[in-house]
Symmetry: C2
Subunit: 273 residues, 2 copies
């Protein structure tokens, strides 16, 4: 669900930007509470993208040192701009491939990976590679969304069809948009010890206007809407159904609507040898 981060970055108007910042703050709490790294610890953030999580992490643990990597030069350039703008001096950005990390084994105390495994054909291999970067006793944190955790009122078959077209597109690309529910078994399969997963549910009704705007409309529905052409031309959904589905998703943002989505946050420790 990298769109979560992207959306915050690319707000169009100032007022919207402000709302999105409120929203981002709420989601940041939801996802990153209890993620604090001790002074002097070395943290590897794998797949930092444009740096949406980097800023939060580095601010929350100002005395930890972050190495944030991504394979995409363009994303890294944007991350660099944002890290500099935020005045953060504890982040090093590097272009690197998760499956060919340019660091000696056991170089880090902590690994952080968020909205990355969903895009990979071999998530367990990725977790194994990352675990090998950990010093003995080091910890790993994994956060993923799960589009199958989305349900809402009023319910709508067309909305589910539109979401399903996104899930299928991600599957065709080798990823898994339903990976959130698999965080526990994937981490265990990768040989990580003391795995514990905590679901982080986003519940939105009319009493939470910042989330109505920031999550239902600008994050989730905008993300589904963004694959319209691709999903239709791939024959995964009919144009009419998709458009009704998007309308129905926006409908859940009206006063009697309700929307639910869940992220999964897993933590574990490098296996004792």
């Amino acid at each position: 669900m990298r769109a979560v981060g992207e959306t915050y970055v690319h707000g169009y108007h100032e007022r919207e930007q402000e709302r999105l910042l409120d929203q981002a703050a709420t989601l940041v709490d939801l996802l990153h509470s209890h993620t604090h790294y001790p002074a002097g610890s070395r943290v590897l953030e794998a797949g930092c993208g444009v740096g949406a999580q980097t800023i939060t992490l580095a601010r929350q643990s100002p005395q930890a040192h972050f190495t944030s990597i991504d394979i995409a030069a363009e994303s890294l350039a944007e991350a660099r701009r944002r890290v500099s703008e935020a005045g953060l001096t504890n982040v090093e950005l590097q272009r690197a491939d998760l499956f060919a990390l340019p660091y000696p084994a056991q170089s880090f105390d902590h690994v952080f990976v968020c909205f990355v495994l969903e895009h990979l054909r071999e998530p367990v291999e990725a977790l194994r590679a990352l675990q090998s970067m950990l010093a003995p006793g080091g910890t790993i944190t994994v956060i993923e969304g799960d589009h199958g955790s989305a349900y809402f009122h009023p319910d709508s078959e067309a909305a589910h069809a539109a979401i399903d077209s996104l899930i299928k597109l991600q599957r065709v690309a080798g990823g898994d948009a339903l990976i959130g529910r698999r965080v526990y078994p994937l981490m265990v399969e990768a040989g990580i010890s003391d795995v514990s997963v905590s679901p982080r549910m986003v519940y939105v009704d009319a009493s939470r206007p910042a989330l109505v705007e920031g999550f239902i409309k600008k994050t989730f529905t905008a993300m589904v809407e963004s694959v319209r052409e691709e999903a239709i031309s791939a024959g995964l959904v009919e144009a009419g159904t998709f458009d009704s589905g998007i309308r129905d998703l926006y409908r859940t943002a009206e006063p009697n609507g309700v929307f639910c989505y869940t992220f999964f946050k897993g933590t574990g420790r490098r296996q004792a040898r």
Copy 2:
């Protein structure tokens, strides 16, 4: 989801009974934490069934007085047996119809209603009737499950078809097995003030064996399994699909399986006049 309570009552073996009690304790915490009534307050529990929630509520608030009603004489008899067995003296059980309550308006300080609205054709009317029982400033608590909130790993179309047949049966009977997500708008529509809904998600993976046994197997899957004949003879699902679905639900209880389900707990206050 009245089956939650029933399951606890009807454990077959002693060892299972023990696990189910652990499990019940976990679910009780999940559903009833923060439900405490002050000394001397008068609480109406509407639709108490066999008393599964009654025992918990009355124990948690030993100095409040509970009037627990149900329309089914048989359930009430069982509730009476259990209340007496638990040695509780602060519960009065009465046979009564939610829509024709035998009490003067404003007779209670609090109303509690759990796993009841899902069975009613007119949930908003029920909430209005219950609200009229509240003295000024009185509060109401509503708890409902939502079968559409069930998702799991490994995922399975047959399992969803089996669950859907239960949802359809409940719809045919005039109820709504997806009512959990609607608790907020229903309470608001009934004119209740200060409505606040908190989702209570049950997340189960292999690190939580009591929930694997007690929730995945003995509660949720057992509940779906119990409608087999009815769902098949009503033509809502094919026998082969249903049986595969049940097998796949049990499959989620194996070591790499994961299961998610969410209850919704709403609280509100009697509207100022």
